[in-house]
Symmetry: C2
Subunit: 254 residues, 2 copies
Amino acid sequence: MGTTQLESVPEPKYWHLKTVLSEALDSDFAVGEVLPNERELAARFGVARATLRQALEQLELEGRLQRRRGVGTTVAPPRMGVAVGAETDVWPGAGDDAWQPVACEETTPPAAVARLLDTDPDEQVHTVRRSRMTHGQPVAAELLYVPAGSVPGLTAIGAPTGAAHARAVLRELQRLELEGQDRAVELGSASAEDAKQLDRLPGAPVLVLTTRYVAEGRTAAVAVATYRADTCRLTFGETGSVQITDAGEDRRAS
Amino acid sequence: MGTTQLESVPEPKYWHLKTVLSEALDSDFAVGEVLPNERELAARFGVARATLRQALEQLELEGRLQRRRGVGTTVAPPRMGVAVGAETDVWPGAGDDAWQPVACEETTPPAAVARLLDTDPDEQVHTVRRSRMTHGQPVAAELLYVPAGSVPGLTAIGAPTGAAHARAVLRELQRLELEGQDRAVELGSASAEDAKQLDRLPGAPVLVLTTRYVAEGRTAAVAVATYRADTCRLTFGETGSVQITDAGEDRRAS
């Protein structure tokens, strides 16, 4: 959040450059504008290319710059606040229109997920892939793992494929009484499939939100959602009236 | 969370290498062990140095590897779950022993914080720096911004400096009735001062948790906490009994 008077540690060169560049972004560039190439920028600020590159990487990490294939480095719009803390616990697909089911397959979940679900390491579970759009932009990709035991009525209904099957799994899941959920956020990198869904390069930093849904005293489902770290700020509001406004808006709006 | 059968996109070379390396970390290395240097590793896996470096960067982003000054690249322990979602709203310093006040000064908060606090852009506020330790390791650094209006009794008490002053500000703040709080998580990079507190290099990726405390119908204080993204997973549990266990433990424990 910038320097304060508490700052007493000598800053590395690129960090100082980052601050200078950040101010230049505010004053000389508009959101979406393409930055001059690295050689020009290095000359303009009188620094080595390596120093410049470090500063640009920091600004990308902080969501101020975006690097896009075939476009170059552009000034990023302010991060969007994406609400992830529901006021009341609800099942995926119930009362939340932000997510769209994309596909559903039987997969062997990652070992960590299997452990949360208490399924055998090689047991296949229903895996619903969903996509979250905000303002027409993809912001998150999710894999929801549902063991067969959580949706006992599903086989009787039949097993179509794709989005239709995904909706059938969600409907069956909603028959259970949701007792609670907990969430964890950590830093990750986008897999090839997630990257495609999020319109990013594989390996791009993402915020990974793991949600565990509890019903009948056990974990009924686990969702692993990856949010674009460059454009998203995850908000956990506790009351409908209290909402953190965009902390970067005044600084970054053109 | 690894590849699944949903994976249908061709993966870049470094991504495949990352998967291979990740398996090698599980089978051939112990937590804390120093990795061979880049030249040796590139030869061992038959890849170019640039490809290797990309794969190592991904693994660092995912918390599997740590790069430390004067030590080299080591195998990281599993990430710690750090609880940030209190069951009930409490003021900083009240009923939460994980945080230690370090210092307090008058500073001009960043523009975004001033806007949340509704203070003038150049108005100085009490700025309490706190540190959070878990298992003897620093996991987070925090700046808590408290406008003079939120602690009207403070001047009467006097203004000592440092940790004592910090505690006095927290005590005064606790006199207000806390009406609610909301939080937002986003990706950031460590400032020089934060990096020093967190035992990291400046610019290291951090999870930035902004908390807004509401009292008397307005924002009484704003806390900006930076958590080490390499070692921490922020958990938002809703019930005391429901807790996400360490999702990486079985995979990474030696």
